[in-house]
Point group: C2
Chain length 453, copies 2
């Protein structure tokens, strides 16, 4: 139920905005848009068809342009950038944080990138180049080099004076990092500790040296896992020599978690998470065609199996009526096992040590389902076709296919993962191929053996 009223606020804004757009009064649209946060504006732009999107994009306060670009998917981002002239783009992005700028830079036209680099001071340019030198989806790419550091040989009082002199701190600064003379990471110092301790307290009494630093090469997923496991707000990033390079903050981690969830949800249907509600038809079509072509191939495989038994079907047409039930139930049962396995693999909970136990558990569940659903199905078939042999055959075939489904549900994602593929994306095609082929094969095969001459 919670889902039903989820994000009603956005939907309401969308309705208001849409009404205002339809009436052509741009004043109210502009006022409405500029009460929103950049993330909300991004969300709104994604929900508009390209025509209206361009109109609204033109009304966004130029100061927010950069932040808004950060909060939309890649397809929409390209679309928005195409509507801007180079000066506008440079103005929009030059004030962004280094990590955010690094996130955007690859979607900018080359001439604009040169302009942006020219507009930056040397220190920031070097920082940007450093961040961009790390591969995408690693800690190096997520970090912001703007970090407040202190030394061990000082007191609360001195740090407070330094901070007053420095002025504003970077967003989400919950800890200062303590470094050696050579800028090696030694530990962290909670800003709240500075507030609750007497001015004379030596810093080395307040250092928390137990927080491990994140290695600059660590994957984004591993970074997100560590943040959730330790409830961090920010964490230091270091290189192989333990030199402090920057920090990652929770807001980026929340984005990673959301993106991963979208990646899995859309990926399971063969879509890219950057796919946009209003992607241009030719582009949307090309992406889907590939997936559907693979599915067409596997469907032919299943059809070939049915084709082998064409003579049997010719003698007993009830088989054609019932065979989709056996195949479909296998697919549904396998999908349930698959969903559990994909989550377990993603959390690192499934490995060589427990696969056998899992298989045995799922086999028992499948057997119970087979007994109960198979009996129900057999009774209905008996009442419908008055053929006890047919009822027996469908009972056995369903139970067998549920067992195949359990086996495939466990083994397909595990095998894909071992082979280096993402189990969330490709598993379902393999699974339904197994359940279709085995469902048709056992049902029609048994019928050929037992029911026809």
């Amino acid at each position: 139920m919670a889902e039903a009223i989820r994000h009603d606020k956005t939907a309401r804004q969308l309705r208001l905005l849409s009404d205002a757009l339809d009436s052509g009064r741009l004043g109210p649209v502009k006022r409405l848009v500029n009460t929103l946060s950049p993330a909300e504006i991004g969300n709104l732009l994604e929900s508009l068809p390209p025509g209206k999107r361009t109109v609204v994009w033109g009304l966004v306060d130029p100061e927010d342009d950069g932040e808004v670009l950060l909060h939309v998917g890649e397809d929409v981002r390209e679309n928005l950038i195409a509507d801007m002239d180079p000066d506008e783009i440079v103005a929009a992005v030059e004030d962004l944080d280094i990590d955010d700028l690094a996130d955007l830079v690859e979607d900018l036209p080359d001439t604009v990138i040169d302009e942006v680099l020219k507009s930056m001071d040397r220190e920031n340019r070097e920082r940007l180049e450093q961040v961009l030198s790390y591969p995408e989806d690693t800690a190096g790419r997520l970090m912001n080099p703007d970090v407040v550091t202190v030394r061990t040989d000082t007191t609360v009082d001195v740090v407070l004076r330094y901070l007053r002199l420095r002025g504003e701190l970077p967003d989400h600064t919950d800890h200062l990092y303590v470094v050696s003379r050579r800028h090696q990471y030694l530990g962290r110092l909670a800003v709240t500790a500075l507030l609750t301790h007497e001015p004379g307290t030596p810093i080395n009494k307040l250092i928390d040296d137990e927080q491990p630093a994140i290695d600059v090469g660590e994957t984004a997923t591993e970074v997100a896992r560590q943040f959730s496991d330790h409830d961090w707000i920010s964490a230091p990033v270091v290189d192989d020599n333990n030199i402090l390079l920057g920090r990652i903050t929770i807001d980026d981690v929340v984005d990673i978690i959301r993106e991963q969830a979208e990646h899995q949800a859309l990926g399971a249907a063969g879509l890219d998470e950057d796919e946009d509600l209003f992607s241009p038809v030719p582009r949307a079509w090309r992406r889907r065609l590939m997936w559907l072509s693979i599915n067409l191939g596997t469907a032919f495989l299943a059809a070939k199996v049915v084709g082998v038994f064409a003579d049997t079907i010719d003698q007993l047409v009830a088989l054609a009526v019932l065979m989709p039930i056996v195949a479909g139930m296998g697919g549904n049962a396998g999908t349930q096992v698959l969903a559990l396995m994909v989550r377990g693999l993603a959390l690192g909970q499934v490995g060589a040590s427990n696969i056998r136990t899992l298989l045995w558990k799922e086999a028992r569940v499948a057997l119970l389902n087979g007994l109960v659903l198979g009996t129900v199905l057999a009774l209905i078939v008996l009442a419908w076709f008055r053929d006890i042999g047919l009822a027996l055959v469908i009972f056995i075939a369903l139970t067998a296919n549920l067992l195949f489904a359990a086996l495939a549900g466990v083994m397909v994602p595990v095998t894909l993962k071992r082979a280096g593929y993402d189990p969330a994306l490709a598993s379902s095609i393999f699974l339904t191929t197994v359940t279709d082929v085995m469902g048709f094969f056992t049902f029609l095969g048994l019928a050929t053996l037992l029911l026809v001459r």
Copy 2:
């Protein structure tokens, strides 16, 4: 690829632990377990079959017991609590934060709840009762009443002295809240502002009164949306009279986001997100049986449609061979549309204002897919069965079913949402019912009209 190496650390720990358990040497297991954070221990416990799980749970440092219970799904939690005696449970939970305790309390035996309440001082007992008085999945249930407040008519210096006197601050305190004499929320004060401003600065110069407070009745989902949209670390919770009741912190929000993603991924397969890899077979079976029973019902509906055309199939058995292709392709294409729509609805991006545009876009994509895939399919059928009429019929039927799939992919989740149901959970059953029924109906119906006498 990132997925493939995801959480390898957990998998590695699991392997080490499993080896140590198998060898029966509990000393190394204990040492290994107690190097982990409570969240990591929870993850590990979830990955163990019940027998080993009990052994490892007995080795966890009792100090961590409460936190570990917070980090496992409900099924595993029940399982772990069943292994503890009442004294252990009271000791494990009495030091938890109020919001965490509120999260656990419903899974505890009644006698234990009484003991826990008795062990608390009056203030904390009242706070717990207050939090428990709000419905689950609302801001009231997520908040922690432990908040540091200050008044407007004071200076940085005075606040610093007060904080030093108070000592430790609650976790994730990035802002203090400024309240009136009647404890009404007036605004927030960044702890970093206290660090970067001179001691004499009046507090009312530093107040940020632009952050809206969260209403105590707001849904968890809406809370999570606001946190992501505004990059908050913490936010104040108020009642209808703007009285400050507590605060919500980002760590709880991260949990909500993760749970929602799991809820959607598992819910789409008819599973509960509390389902555990090693749920006891009878329980796992009962949950799945319900979903599969519904699927059996819809499968019969499709079979009935096929049954209507039994005579046609009897005359042309190729139809039985090919009909699963038409139905299956429709299901796959519809699932792609559905995945996009479910995300759009969850983000509030789909509403009355853009459904028609979406339908039109998806219809064009479906038509293009129908033309291309239908042609490929027709050519293969022509080569296989040497029947130009059959090739024509399957071309038309596939294109028609892709159009039905696009229509159902857009309208099923929208209609479910309007009716107050969660589109992520029930949509796929309705969708595949449409694509199966319409796939069989158009293909066999056209064949009956055009191919047989």
